[in-house]
Amino acid sequence: MPVVTQSEGMSRRELLSRSGVVATAVATVPLIGADALAEEAPGEVGVRMTVNGTVTPLTVDPRETLLDVLRERLRLTGTKKGCDRGQCGACTVHVDGERVVSCLTLVATLGGARVTTIEGLADGDRLHPLQQAFIDHDGFQCGFCTPGQIMSAAAVIEDGRARTDDQIREQMSGNICRCSAYPGIVAAVQQARKEMR
């Protein structure tokens, strides 16, 4: 089975790292697939993604998540890290127009992808209708969950299926707000939904 249990996986890797052969092992096993990755350093992966309209070539460790790369390497700190486990939605961004949690997305998988973050939503100094609606309806208190809420809401509106307050609540349930600004969030999504049609 493709699943590596702790016992098998750990003992093998512990053995390797204790004897110091991890790097050698990684370097000598040929990489497969059409992306010839031979130019990267051992174990690294070259990725070309478009972030908020800008072509962004990167060389990453395959363990790097989109969330960490956005925040730490591209300095796009609008996207927030809440749980880092796919449970809170604070890190929601769009990949190829679909909403995803960036904390569970490996950048190594994003060759050719189009990423949009909260920084890419406004049109210059003109706020996106959702950003304005969150202000109009007090859709936040501390604001930590807000970038994720807005990116998630943009996808929900684009999808077009959620119309009633209940449907919006259900579609937005992957975005937790510890300040419990939910009534304002639903009102903001309703306002923006009408404006964005």
Binding site: P2, V4, V26, I32, A34, G89, E98, L104, G174
Partner: protein
Amino acid sequence: MREFQFARPGSVAEAVREADPGTAFLAGGTTLVDLMKLEVMTPGRVLDINRLPLRAIEATGEGLEIGSLVRMRDVATHTLVRRDYPVVAQALEASASGQLRTMASIGGNLLQRTRCGYFRDVSVPCNKRRPGSGCPAVGGENRMHAVLGTSDSCVATHPSDLAVALVALDATVRLRSRTGERTISLRDLYLLPGDTPHREHDLQPGELITAVVLPRLPWASHSIYVKVRDRQSYEFALASAAVAVRRERDTIVEARVAVGGMGTRPWRLAAVEAALAGRPATEASYEAASARALDGVRPLRHNAFKPELMRRTLVRALLELERTR
């Protein structure tokens, strides 16, 4: 996260050729990346399978064949799934969140790992994670754990909602490995924990799920998924029921019944199905048949409420299904 080698195979043949026992396939990553961060899963090699051509939904003579990389959201919104197998669409819509349903594949969904908190915490023992180390859940925090199919070695619940609906429908999975192709029933894919809870599936090392087949079953259009949880959305099941009923006038001819949140694997309830067949479609019949769900349950310290919750969830599913006629 431990180091791993990464590659993106371009074909199914390449993927299964490259896979060895230390390899994990990466689909949506919503289980795998989470568990790699926790170091619960430590594959030496990760194969990103998203470039494989396993994204079609096709009606065949056998039924509906769904590629393993089709996303949960795209199965849930598919016209034929909604019309012919509403139980599947409903189970998916009640799963996880909008973001996760956009990311996660149905192949990965079926192989997601238990949410048992001890399994997810490498600082404590767990027979599933480290065979022979013990099971802290048996005497510890076990409110979310299973009451059916448990053993002294492991009482972890299988978390997938989709799998419950698919087991009710007798779905099959198509598998591909270095040695060839095979098709097995989804029910046989899942193993009971017994003394070897670390062995969860009947899959060979490096075997790939290529598709899920929903068999032709005209009366599955009359089916429903009911999920009871601690909050209304974005939560795993305390109890769930997948039910399909074939009626002739006021008599139940046949039924399919499976439950989630209860078993160490998605749990089909043949005794309830038998007790429904030939009975009038009334609340009294539903109550009587659902009582058979309690056969063989083994409640734990914190989940003694589960058997009765399962029984009531079944009755509610049967009543709600009647209302959709």
